[in-house]
């Protein structure tokens, strides 16, 4: 008994339990994080893999064609000694025919399951996927190919041409007509400015007339482009296909409406991988479609990265200067301690409060004043007096400034007193000492602050929703029109995208994998930004902390 208690006491004194406790705590948090990443990745990465299409005959005589999403136990099926039962969720797509994309079927209802070779998966620009069998291809209403395998061959011949035409159409709509609209708007505002500012009416009329002539020229150009577009659209409208869906219903659609068509039951592994990568690249580089539930997220990636960079540019100098005063110049005492506590607590204010502040102060007050002073011709439609990437970045800079201040202060405090005294003893002033010795030495710590601020800022959504993020932004905040950076524009953001697609889209079930994919991408981007900053910091550190000092 006594020996046992001594053994226990020694075990306790040795510190081993504490090692287990601390190690366990670390392991637990690591497991949670890894589990989160694994769940997100598992759900996300399978999304683009082209699965096989199964045709199932049911006991009631009906048929379905779709991809298996999940198979699970029927809840409560084991009760009362009955055998375990399973049910399967199929993605049957064809939203425009059936009304819903998904269908649950009890496994005991399924009579046969086959994988028809000629089942086709159509990815469409609108209405989601279409599963079915191609029956015929028509040109101007005349059947030009019918039945297997002629229709499929004809389709493959025509389809790339229609997509090229479609690309031309988009090019004209977005770039060329976009430029025309941009110029028309510019001229319209110029006329308003003249009418408001020019005191001499004769001269005003003269100048307005000149501008109106220019407007007429742009308008004519617009007519030309519109004609061009009509020709292209007519060209694409000539070709149509008819698809027979499971259950015998037929659907007719233009060839141009199809993004990609594949025979998923005939694909080899290599071909599947190729399609997977194509879809992945499309996801990263293309614009979204179908109210963000399909297509890519490029504008959101661009908006996120640009906002984080803008925020860093603003928050780092501001935070560092504030910390310098607090640590180096201010007389250390009760007041400075109080300020420090206040700054630390600022980090605990709910982010939505910062958003509201940004809306009130930056957008309404600052932006409103800028509009009245510099853009009066555009009023009442606001230029800066509405949400935009500049205001969103500023709001986030405000939100993350405590992080930078705290990190900078700590790194300033860590500069050895001997360095400061050595510099001062050589006749350097305090400012010279700070500039040449203290700040370079504190740089790695300052970068740590920046890394933390970026991680915090990139993951923040709530304040952005009221300061400039939108579901779909027609233009990027950076383009080829002078002055290239359009900081007043609204933008898209991956964090908001997750919320929007996951909870606001009309077809949540179909969009679910998209949410996981976007989450994975956001985590990846934050990781990438941080790794860059960490790389820079380590290079600085090895330069500073070298040798035995």
């Amino acid at each position: 008994m006594r020996v046992e208690s001594r053994v226990f006491k020694n075990f306790w004194k040795s510190g081993d339990p504490f090692v287990w406790l601390t190690g366990g705590a670390l392991a637990f948090s690591l497991i949670m994080i890894v589990a989160l990443i694994v769940i997100v990745a598992a759900n996300a990465l399978g999304f683009f893999w082209p699965g096989r299409l199964v045709q199932a005959k049911l006991q009631d005589g009906s048929e379905l064609l779709g991809q298996v999403v999940v198979q699970e136990e029927v809840p409560g099926s084991q009760k009362d000694g009955k055998a375990l039962q399973y049910r399967t969720e199929f993605q049957i797509a064809n939203r425009d025919i059936y009304g819903a994309d998904f269908r649950w079927v009890d496994d005991n209802q399924i009579v046969t399951q086959t994988y028809p070779e000629n089942a086709i998966l159509f990815e469409r620009w609108e209405w989601g996927h279409l599963f079915g069998f191609l029956t015929k291809v028509t040109e101007n209403g005349q059947v030009i190919a019918e039945g297997e395998p002629l229709a499929w061959q004809k389709f493959q011949e025509i389809h790339p041409r229609t997509q090229e035409t479609l690309e031309q159409i988009q090019q004209i709509e977005q770039k060329e007509i976009g430029a025309i609209n941009y110029n028309l708007e510019r001229l319209r505002l110029a006329i308003k400015t003249i009418q408001k500012d020019e005191s001499d009416p004769a001269r005003a009329q003269e100048r307005v007339a000149a501008l109106e002539q220019e407007i007429a020229m742009w308008q004519q150009r617009y007519e030309e482009k519109a004609k061009e577009l009509k020709v292209l659209r007519d060209e694409n409208a000539r070709y149509r296909i008819t698809v027979q869906a499971a259950g015998g219903r037929e659907k007719e659609l233009p060839v141009a409406a199809v993004v990609r068509a594949l025979l998923p039951n005939q694909l080899s592994w290599g071909e599947r991988l190729k399609i997977y990568l194509t879809r992945l690249i499309e996801f990263i580089w293309e614009d979204p479609r179908e109210s963000n539930t399909e297509g890519g997220v490029f504008p959101a990636i661009f908006g996120t990265v640009m906002m984080v960079l803008l925020m860093s540019i603003m928050v780092v100098p501001f935070g560092v200067i504030a910390a310098l005063y607090l640590r180096e110049y201010a007389k250390q005492g009760t007041l400075v301690r109080a300020v420090r506590i206040a700054v630390n607590n600022l980090a605990g204010v709910p982010s939505i409060v910062f958003g509201v502040f940004g809306l009130g102060f930056f957008i309404y007050l600052l932006g409103g004043s800028i509009d009245r002073l510099f853009y009066p011709e555009a009023l009442p439609s606001p230029t800066y007096g509405t949400g935009g990437i500049l205001w969103a970045s500023l709001t986030l800079a405000l939100l993350t400034v405590p992080v930078v201040i705290v990190a900078t202060e700590e790194s300033l405090a860590a500069i050895p007193r001997e360095w400061r005294e050595g510099s001062l003893a050589l006749g350097a002033t305090k400012w010279e000492t700070i500039r040449k010795i203290v700040l370079p030495g504190a740089l790695p710590g300052i970068l740590t602050g920046m890394i933390l601020a970026m991680a915090r800022g990139a993951g923040e959504v709530a304040p952005l929703m009221i300061t400039g993020v939108v579901k779909l932004a027609p233009t990027l905040p950076l383009d080829t029109h002078a002055p290239f950076f359009h900081l007043e524009r609204k933008f898209m953001h991956l964090g908001f995208h997750i919320y929007d697609v996951g909870f606001q889209s009309p077809n949540v079930e179909a969009a679910k994998p998209m949410v996981f994919m976007t989450t994975l991408l956001l985590i990846g981007i934050i990781l990438l930004l941080n790794l860059t900053a960490i790389f820079v910091r380590n290079r600085l550190r090895s330069r500073l902390r070298f040798g035995t000092f």
């Binding site: 001997e418 050589l426 006749g427």
Partner: protein, 283 residues
């Protein structure tokens, strides 16, 4: 007696030239030949605690003066009064008068950076900056506005030679200074200090962090530097004080107990406390 602040042995003169008055005052205990530093009735308070009590002392020009005494006796504090580094400590108050080369340095309107250019300091813990060897030595001259590369090169080489470090580092002037050894660090700090050509070099226990061989090198260096600079050294090591200094001041509890020629103080001390301390009976 008027004399120039720059040293004729140095080829490059720096832009800080000040005038100096007479420093001779035979009335004090140790009759130094030419007094560079005159300390009169200096008291120092940290808040309400008095750390120095009415110190009076003349420190000779181009002599080595050692401050010895037990820990906490105020010798480092007195040393730091000479370049006003105590100003960095909040709530410090100094009364009395310290004249260096005739200039009253306790004058609150004095340009402290100007003073510190004239009174250099080597610290207890070697404190090279995290920069290259070259940049460490060029730091002071750059602060003083020396911009020309050739001029800086010359100052760096001359200072490193004077600190007996040139031969060891001339191949790697642009390597990080922190990669040097402890003894080299301290000699680099000495080179850095003399690069701005001060008149006075203060050394605060410069060998306490070094091994015996590095210590010997620094002591030899002090001997060399004596020809151009007035050196004030604080040390815990009485053998060292005996080896390197011309004059020694023994301090105890914030008071100057005895001050005189080193050989006299160590062989025939006047005060009992001094004798007790140097024979190791306390301290």
């Amino acid at each position: 007696m008027e004399k120039e602040w720059s040293h004729p042995t140095h080829a490059v003169s720096l832009p800080h030239l000040a005038k100096q008055g007479n420093g001779k005052d035979p009335s004090l205990g140790a009759a130094v030949e030419i007094a560079e530093i005159q300390i009169r009735d200096v008291c120092l308070f940290y808040g309400s605690k008095q750390a120095l009590h009415h110190i009076n002392m003349n420190i000779g020009r181009r002599e080595v003066t050692a401050f010895i005494g037990p820990s906490g006796c105020g010798k480092s504090t007195l040393l730091r009064c000479l370049n006003r580094l105590n100003d960095l400590v909040d709530a410090t108050k100094v009364t009395g008068s310290i004249r260096i080369g005739g200039t009253e340095i306790l004058d609150p309107t004095l340009d402290i950076t100007e003073l510190r250019k004239r009174v250099g300091m080597v610290f207890q813990k070697p404190n090279p900056f995290p920069k290259t060897i070259y940049e460490n030595v060029a730091y002071g001259p750059r602060i003083l506005g020396v911009r020309h590369k050739s001029q800086l090169d010359e100052i760096v080489e001359r200072s490193l030679r004077a600190a007996a470090l040139w031969d060891e580092v001339k191949e790697r002037l642009h390597d990080n200074a922190l990669a040097l050894s402890g003894g080299q660090h301290q000699r680099l700090c000495i080179a850095r200090t003399i690069a701005v050509e001060p008149e006075v070099v203060l050394m605060d226990e410069p060998c306490s962090a070094l091994d015996p061989i590095a210590t010997t090198k620094i002591e030899e260096l002090i001997h060399e530097l004596k020809q151009h600079y007035t050196i004030v050294i604080v040390t815990h090591n009485m053998q060292q004080a005996a080896r390197v200094s011309d004059y020694t001041a023994f301090m105890y509890l914030g008071r100057l107990v005895e001050f005189g020629k080193t050989d006299k103080l160590f062989t025939t001390p006047e005060k009992q406390e001094t004798e007790d301390y140097i024979t190791g009976r306390f301290g």
